[in-house]
Symmetry: C2
Subunit: 338 residues, 2 copies
């Protein structure tokens, strides 16, 4: 089959790869209904994260099960499934505490920018629907797999509550999903930090009540002005740079909470600053598995349309253009027809 392979920074190709096979008795093979490109795929694409050998990319997926290993019990061929980008057994203590992204058997999904993919730990990772969802729901289901799940975790980790004042740092796809999550959790005010008109529009559509287009000190000043000098109850940090983390720390109030889901690159925290700032912090790879049943249910009921975050759709053959469009911020998030 054809799959998207990153050879080196800037060099992503749609080329022949091996068909996925059951390698362990707990694996499943799925036929993807669609695939997509993640903001985190851009780190190695931009050369900001080391890449060893050529890598078959893609970790967001939904589709139909075509084969399962001999030990798979709850998932069966023919089912429509969504899984997390973090593969987990969903039975270990960390999973039972709701932190499946720290599962003792954790692996990260790979090779989902392709028509078929192998999903390890199928019973623990995949959640099946009762019926086959209609085609128009596929983008929304696909979004649940990572981008919505991650934005949701940012809001959950940031302890968004009904009536909360929320700031979302980062207007990428995850930040926009953080806006949607905050709205669903009943936030009273959702301030999206965004300089780009198309993203501002999307943010408003997903539930932002205010937009701050300034950055750095000026952005901080504006948000403090808007909150009577207090700062936000909850801040969703959805970028992963020192600059965005500084922003998040500066706009939250003492006792407020920062949920950070952008993989930190060259980020460090000075102890006394965190101490005297008194910000509660929780981050990490999102335990999407915890949220999957609820989020899939919301999609099936038509309560949320996270798939609106895909603003460019391309065939897998044009994956290079997809990466380029996201790298140049011409597209928020690219869906791939596989």
């Amino acid at each position: 089959m054809l799959g998207a392979v990153l050879h080196k920074a800037g060099d992503i190709r749609c080329e022949q790869v091996d068909d996925p096979k059951i390698l362990k008795p707990t694996d499943a093979i799925i036929k993807l209904s669609a695939s997509c490109i993640c903001g985190s795929d851009l780190w190695p694409y931009r050369g900001l994260q080391p890449l060893g050998e050529p890598t078959h990319m893609g970790h967001e997926y939904c589709g139909v099960v075509v084969e399962v290993g001999s030990e798979v019990r709850t998932i069966r061929p023919g089912q429509f499934v969504v899984g997390s980008f973090c593969l987990s057994d969903n039975t270990c203590p960390h999973c039972r505490y709701g932190f499946q992204s720290s599962c003792v058997q954790r692996e990260f999904m790979l090779g989902a920018q392709a028509p078929y993919a192998r999903v390890p730990l199928a019973d623990g990772t995949l959640v099946a629907t009762e019926e086959m969802p209609s085609d128009d729901l596929v983008p929304h289901m696909l979004a649940v797999s990572d981008v919505l799940g991650t934005g949701w975790y940012a809001a959950d980790a940031a302890q968004v509550k009904p009536g909360s004042t929320v700031v979302v740092v980062g207007d990428g796809a995850v930040g926009l999903m953080g806006v949607l999550a905050a709205r669903e959790m009943g936030a009273g005010r959702i301030i999206a930090m965004s300089r780009h008109e198309t993203r501002q529009k999307l943010a408003r559509e997903f539930g932002a009540t205010d937009i701050v287009s300034e950055r750095a000190e000026e952005g901080v000043r504006r948000i403090l002005d808007m909150t009577d000098g207090v700062g936000a109850d909850s801040v969703l940090e959805c970028v992963g740079t020192m600059e965005s983390m500084d922003q998040a720390l500066a706009v939250s109030r003492p006792g407020g909470t920062i949920g950070y889901v952008g993989v930190p690159h060259d980020v460090s925290f000075e102890g006394q600053r965190l101490f005297f700032g008194q910000r509660r912090m929780l981050g990490g790879p999102a335990p999407v598995r915890r949220f999957l049943p609820d989020l899939m249910d919301r999609v099936l009921k038509g309560l949320i349309q996270p798939g609106k975050v895909f603003d460019l759709e391309l065939p897998l053959a044009q994956v290079a253009e997809g990466y380029k469009a996201m790298d140049e911020r011409r597209a928020v998030k690219v869906m791939l027809r596989v």
Copy 2:
């Protein structure tokens, strides 16, 4: 009057100081029932924290109000009061959220190692009892002012819940109070890390169910063994060094929470480590004011005896011996008769 003045590292003297006076209409003057030496006093005493000019030390206090400024409304002469080491108006937004230690008018108490002291922001800072407590309650009331309040905050920030598995890093007075707090909050298992027999005994008295005397990697291994490889739900970091913070990070489980109350000295956190570790963290100077009414009530009802943490009592004139005893870890915490 006489007061304890730190001239330079290692040089603390009981000497003549000015009597405290009402400087602002929101001040009160109290006659201290007793004073004490804090673990944090040892940082400048050990030369590990810069000290400008000679400083009148002491920030833990309880006693009887002798005078109030013209704008003080709720506190009056003759009342027995306890206050926090953080002075706060208790009306600003941060105070109302329960983070009085980040009050917009925050000051830190000074000069309480003396028979009399000035307490700024008296209405916001001080909590009065209805009646004059008996003398035997004074050590317990004094402990509430900082050491218990700080240990309590560590447990609160670490989200100790009924049945939780808790690790306390640090067997100083604050750590021991953290043990007591965790017990009061219903923790199922309280593992105190302590190498010193007398402190181990106190820890058990305050509620520790297990003692781990190993440190560093070996200490981590033991705690992971004791928790079936999972780690603790809540960790109270009560020291403030990189070593103790490493310990706290290593023995908590993903999704677990670290409450850190030791002022960090040369501590920094690498972003990806915090991210992939998925530890929830909250630290800072304790908002003792939030807990004062509850903790004073527990003392008055005889439910807790935090004053047992004082294992050496000296007259103020011997303050130098008190600092020395704590510095050499011959004493856990020194009470000063004033």
